[in-house]
Every structure is written in structure tokens, then in C-alpha cells.
Amino acid sequence: MPSLLGNIFKSWSDYSKGNEEGGFHKYEHMYAMAIDLNKCTGCNACSTACYAENNLAWVGEERFGARQAMNWMRVERYFDEPNIGNETSDSLDHGASFLPMMCQHCSAAPCEPVCPVAATYHTVDGLNAQIYNRCIGSRYCANNCPIRVRNFNFYDNAQTAWPAPMDQGLNPDITVRSKGVMEKCTFCIQRIRGASDTAKREGREIQDGDIQTACQQTCPTSAITFGDLLDETSKISKAWKRQQVELGVYKQNKENPEMRGYRVYEELNIDTKVLYLERVREV
């Protein structure tokens, strides 16, 4: 009991701080990503790697068509509007572009405040984490996610997705989710934990390049960069700085408007942590 009230009085000033004053952060790491769309060929290898790494259940054609799929990472295709339905042969050439989309691990994630049981929360690594065995499946988080990257286990997928010998191929570092649970991209948290454990065992700080996400590792064109933004020397911090994109703002103050870097839904002030580098093409 003394600790109950003691905590309030001890750190009231910390606890009552909002976003404007920096909030209650005390982050140890700030994992972030950068995806160069110039390099992306839309091959879907990242998505496949994610299926393999994170024990994602495949649901079959029918349920995929009903949009009940479990793809944490999806490569979205967009076409330039004037070319839709255009009969000319160069429409495909000019229209199609790809956008690999996964959970953006927003620093001010809209999914977090609405979860009734706090199953989705922010870790000190700057990750937006999901606790599967706390989740009761109210699905409010998914409704409040503007990017719709949260996947819900509408069926008992674990029973059907991996018939007999295939369950041997499941990744032992990560759970198989039961029905009625929300799941989403974790930035391969099992790899982050593994790398930090190794670093601890070897008595050193975690270094840039220790952690590779599955999608990054698989990407044939190395379009994906991953790392810690708090580490000034890491590739990812350099990439963000080079593009003059920073966290914690809803409008980037770029000296050079030619810079290709952007974050999705910046105007919603959700503060996403994935930097996209716009595709450049001939007109």
C-alpha cells in the first residue's frame, strides 16, 4: 500500500507529462525502419519471410478473399489514376507502384489507448507490442488503426494451417496464436530479444547490424533498413537524418523539398516509425 500511493507522489511530475512536454518516455532503444521504394520490386519475398518467421497461419483462398488473412506484412499495389482501365499498353508500365505495409510502430499509437485490457502497449524499446495472452479480442485497436495492419484470428487457425508434418516447421521462438486474439508485426521481437541476450552474455552493448528482421534479411534488393534511432551512428539514424525526417512531429521541416523520405499518415500525428523513400520514375 505505501508503494501504491508513494509512486504517485514520488513521480507525479513524470506521470502527468503529456506528449507536448516529451511525455513519459525513458526509452532505451527506438527501433525504426526505412524502406526504399526505388529498390522495391514488389516480389513479396518479405511477406513470405514474415509467414515463415512469425508462424503466420495461412487461411486458404476463400478466407483470404473474405479479408480474413493473417498477413502481417503485405505488399500493396497502387495504380496511377489516369491509367486505370486505359487500353494502351504502357498503362502498366506507368501505373503500378508497390508499398510494403506493416505495423508502423507509431510512437503515439492510436491502438494503445483504446485497448480495454492494455494488451497492446509501448515497450522501452520504442516498440508497439501486443501481449497475446492478455488480449480478449475486443478488436477496438484494429478499428482505430488507420492503416489496418492488425490481423485478428477469426478462426482457430492453429488447428488448420499446419497439417501433420508442417507443424515441425514452426518457429520455436514465437507462439502460435489461438482464436480470438489480435496479432500484428512485432519488428521480429524474438530476434531483438535474442540479439540483446547475446550482447548481454558477451558483456557488450547491442550494436548496429546485430538485429535483422526477417523481411530485411530476405529482401533481394536490400530495400529495407532496420536499426536503433537512438544510436547516432547506426545506418537507420543516418538514413533518417539524410532524408531530414524526424520523430515527434506531424509536419517535417525539410530544407530540401526534393528529399524522398516521408512517413505515412503524418497529418494524423500518430508518429510512425517507418520511413518510406518515395519512388522516382521517368514521366
Binding site: P113, R139, Y265
Partner: protein
């Protein structure tokens, strides 16, 4: 039948002031024994509907939420719109019993008991939906802030937790309000009942004997709880509105949602009161208590609230339109011209155009037409809630996730079954407990008669200059 017709057309006063008190007791107590056959038909129908819901829930429990055809964009759909519908329905009981109590509108007295019961049971129905829509329904109690060894708490920032708190408060308070208002009536039942009813009423009347001290405490208690209930009712539906308004989705993130929801709640509740009024009047032969002038007043009240709701609806559209927020504007346009537009325009017709029929006295005085109109008003309100939840989910922000979804059979079974569950509870209640407040009808008769006599005396003094007989000896009847 001819006598009823006669009553229907001739009634001009809210209640006959010369009705004997013993007759009030007799009529109401009789209603608990022998309703018309229609009552039993309705009860069995409701139980069947409810069993469909049980089947659907067992199915969903075993096979997951997928057969409701929910998908990655449409996570809530009919579950939450039905939840909002039932929460809304619960608000008019409070309007009739608490607000009209405070403003001393005594015509509420014969009809407020069943409206209060409607509040309680529609809350019980509404409370089911946030629970059954959970993916892991067996863990629903995790939203309660209980002390756990692991120091795990719910997230108090979530509007769903506010819902849990608000609904718990509202359900508890409205059950107690219903019960406290019923204690003097339970004493009446106790004094004339036999068998299991005697045991039940003796227990429930808590030893009420009509002492002056009891009445005084009763008056204060009733007043205090009425004062608590009004802000509670408003806050409950505001919080339900915040489920949407606190989200950032286009079409949900609207500041005017709380008052809009409260108005819609009162509206659908008033329409439901009209439906139940007509049903009870028929089932229990309450033509003398649930009179045409009272129905008339409820209809007028419904019309006023309908216009208020329409206004807030237009305000919401206007603020979205002139806000120039592109996604929100697209959702608004999709409501009107997209795949869900038939339901949207039905909502406009049933919710905003149909209430104008209440201006006609012929409509208000015709039971069959009124039954139809009141049910259609509620259809409109149900569509309203659906049109709040679903078009937003079908569009939202992200183009990849745009899709149109039609609810699966599990969802429809749950929606239909909820009506069965509500009807079942309500019908059992009105059979076991007096659904017309006997002591308050007596009060109404007593005070109206006093007023009439006082007026008469005043008229005599006015015309003759001689004070008339002070008080009639028959006051109170016998």
C-alpha cells in the same frame, strides 16, 4: 370490444378521477394473473428467438468470429451497432421516471413503471453485446479493475473501460430505482397474494407498512436517485458515443457525437415506449390506465425529440461537410451514394420524415397505425446505428482496406436473438410484478380530484361570493 372502441375515442382526460382505489388494486393485481392469449404467444415467440441467439453464440464460441463474416476492416459491424441501439433504448425509461418526476408531470405515473423496466432490460440486453463480440469471450472479466497477484490492471484510458464502468453503474442504479419505486406496490401485492407470490412479495417489500417515516424517507430517496440518474443517463450515452468519437476514424471522430447519441437514445426509447404501451394495453386490458391522452402526450414528446435528433443529425453532416476533411467527407458521401445508401435513405425516411405523421390526431389515436409507426421509427434508429458503424469501417483512411461487407448469419442471429431476450425478460417482469404503479395512480387520482374541487370552489366563490363546501367527503373513494 365495442367498449374498448368507445374508450379509445371518448377518452379526453388522462385518467378518470372518480375511479375507486380498490378498483385500481383489483385491476392491476388481476393483470398479473390472466393476460390475454396474445401474451403467451409473444412470450413463446421471444423464447424461440432467444434460443436462436444461444445457438449462434455456441457456434461462435466454438468456431471463432469468422462466420459472422467480420474481416480485417470490419471488426465490429452489427455487434456494436446493436449494442448502441439497446443502450439507446434504455434512456427513455429514465426520461419518463426521473426527468418527468422532477418537473412534476403526473401523467407519467401510469406508464413509467414499464418504461423503467424497459430501461433495465434493454441495458441487460445491451450489456450482452460487448461481451459476446469479444474474440475470447471467456476472459471478459479482465476488463474489471480487480486486484490481481500479478499487478495487472485494465487500461483506464480505453472508452471500452468507461463503457464497462458506466453500464455497471447505470444497470445497478436503474434496477435499484425500479425496485425502490416498486416497494409500496410490492406491499400491496403482499397483502393480497397467496402461495409463492406471497413469499416473494413479503421478502421484496422489505416490511413496508406505509408509515409516515417510511414515506418521508421514500420521497427523499426517490428524489435523490432521480437526481443521480439523469446525469448518469446522459453520461452513459455520451460515453458510448465516445467509443466512436475518441477514435480517429473518419466519420467517427465527430465532436457532436455525444449529444447526438443522447438525442437518438431518447428518440428510440420513446418509440419503444409507444410500442410497449400499445402491447401492454392490449395484453392486460389496461384501457383505463394507459389512456389515449397519455399516449397522445408520449407521441408529442416523441415528435419533439425526433426533430431534435434530426437537427443534430444535420449538424453532424454539416460540420463534416464544411470541415473539408477529405476522408470524412468521402465517408459521408459514401453513406448517401455508396453501397449502403438504401439503408441510409431508409434511416432518413423512418427517422426524420415519418415522425411528421405524429402531428396528425387520427394517427395518434389509431392503435394499429401507431404500433406500425413506432416500430418503423425504431427500425430507422437501428439503421442509424448501423450507418454510424459500418460505412466508416468500409472506408476509413487506407485505400488498401476499402471494402464492402454484409453481415453473416451469426450476426443476424445475435441481433434477432437480442430482441427475444429483451422481450422474454420484459414479458416475465410484467407478469410477476405490477407494471402499472398502483400507489402512484392513486396519488394522481387523489391530487387531480383535489385540484378539480379547488377549482370548483373557486368558481363558486367567484360567482356567488359564498365559499363552497370545503372538501368533498368522498375524497379517496372507498
Amino acid at each position: 370490444m365495442s367498449e374498448q372502441e368507445h374508450l379509445t375515442h371518448e377518452q379526453t382526460r388522462d385518467i378518470d378521477e372518480n375511479i375507486a382505489w380498490a378498483k385500481i388494486n383489483k385491476d392491476v393485481l388481476k393483470s398479473m394473473e390472466n393476460p390475454r392469449a396474445g401474451y403467451w404467444v409473444a412470450l413463446v415467440g421471444c423464447m424461440l428467438l432467444f434460443s436462436v441467439m444461444i445457438f449462434a453464440e455456441v457456434w461462435q464460441y466454438n468456431y471463432g468470429m469468422g462466420d459472422a463474416l467480420l474481416n480485417t476492416s470490419h471488426m465490429w459491424d452489427l455487434y456494436i451497432s446493436t449494442f448502441v441501439f439497446w443502450i439507446g433504448m434504455s434512456h427513455s425509461g429514465t426520461l419518463l421516471s426521473a426527468i418527468l418526476h422532477l418537473v412534476h408531470a403526473d401523467w407519467r405515473k401510469p406508464i413509467y413503471r414499464f418504461a423503467e423496466a424497459m430501461t433495465t432490460f434493454s441495458l441487460m440486453t445491451a450489456g450482452i453485446f460487448p461481451v459476446i463480440h469479444l474474440g475470447r469471450v471467456w476472459n471478459f472479466y479482465w476488463v474489471m479493475p480487480y486486484m490481481s497477484d500479478r499487478g495487472i490492471w485494465p487500461n483506464f484510458r480505453s472508452p471500452l473501460i468507461w463503457d464497462a464502468f458506466a453500464i455497471t453503474s447505470y444497470l445497478t442504479s436503474s434496477v435499484l430505482f425500479l425496485y425502490i419505486g416498486m416497494i409500496p406496490d410490492l406491499a400491496i401485492c403482499r397483502d393480497s397474494a397467496t402461495g409463492w407470490r406471497k413469499t416473494l412479495y413479503t421478502f421484496m417489500s422489505l416490511g413496508w407498512r406505509g408509515d409516515d417515516a417510511q414515506w418521508r424517507n421514500f420521497r427523499f430517496t426517490y428524489l435523490m436517485i432521480a437526481c443521480f440518474l439523469i446525469p448518469l443517463a446522459v453520461s452513459v450515452h455520451s460515453i458510448v458515443a465516445m467509443d466512436f468519437a475518441m477514435a480517429l476514424m473518419p466519420g467517427w471522430h465527430v465532436t457532436s457525437f455525444p449529444p447526438y447519441f443522447v438525442a437518438g437514445a431518447l428518440y428510440s426509447g420513446c418509440a419503444a415506449i409507444i410500442s410497449l404501451f400499445i402491447a401492454l394495453r392490449y395484453f392486460f386490458k389496461f384501457e383505463e390506465y394507459m389512456t389515449m391522452p397519455i399516449l397522445d402526450k408520449v407521441c408529442k414528446l416523441t415528435f419533439v425529440i425526433a426533430m431534435f435528433w434530426t437537427y443534430l443529425n444535420l449538424i453532424e453532416f454539416a460540420s463534416v461537410w464544411y470541415g473539408h476533411d477529405v476522408p470524412a467527407k468521402e465517408v459521408l458521401l459514401a453513406k448517401a451514394f455508396g453501397p449502403y445508401s438504401p439503408f441510409f435513405w431508409s434511416m432518413v425516411v423512418f427517422g426524420s420524415v415519418l415522425p411528421f405523421s405524429l402531428l396528425s390526431k387520427c394517427v395518434r389515436r389509431n392503435m394499429k397505425i401507431m404500433m406500425t409507426v413506432s416500430l418503423l421509427l425504431n427500425v430507422g434508429m437501428f439503421l442509424e446505428r448501423w450507418m454510424i458503424v459500418t460505412p466508416t469501417l468500409s472506408l476509413g483512411y487506407h485505400p488498401q482496406a476499402f471494402n464492402v461487407m454484409w453481415p453473416g448469419w451469426v450476426e443476424w442471429a445475435m441481433v434477432g436473438g437480442s430482441f427475444g431476450w429483451f422481450g422474454m425478460l420484459f414479458l416475465i417482469f410484467v407478469k410477476v410484478f405490477p407494471c402499472v404503479s398502483m400507489y402512484e395512480v392513486k396519488e394522481m387520482v387523489y391530487h387531480r380530484k383535489r385540484h378539480a374541487e379547488a377549482d370548483e370552489d373557486a368558481m363558486i366563490v367567484l360567482h356567488t361570493g359564498v365559499p363552497g363546501p370545503k372538501k368533498s367527503q368522498e375524497t379517496g373513494g372507498a
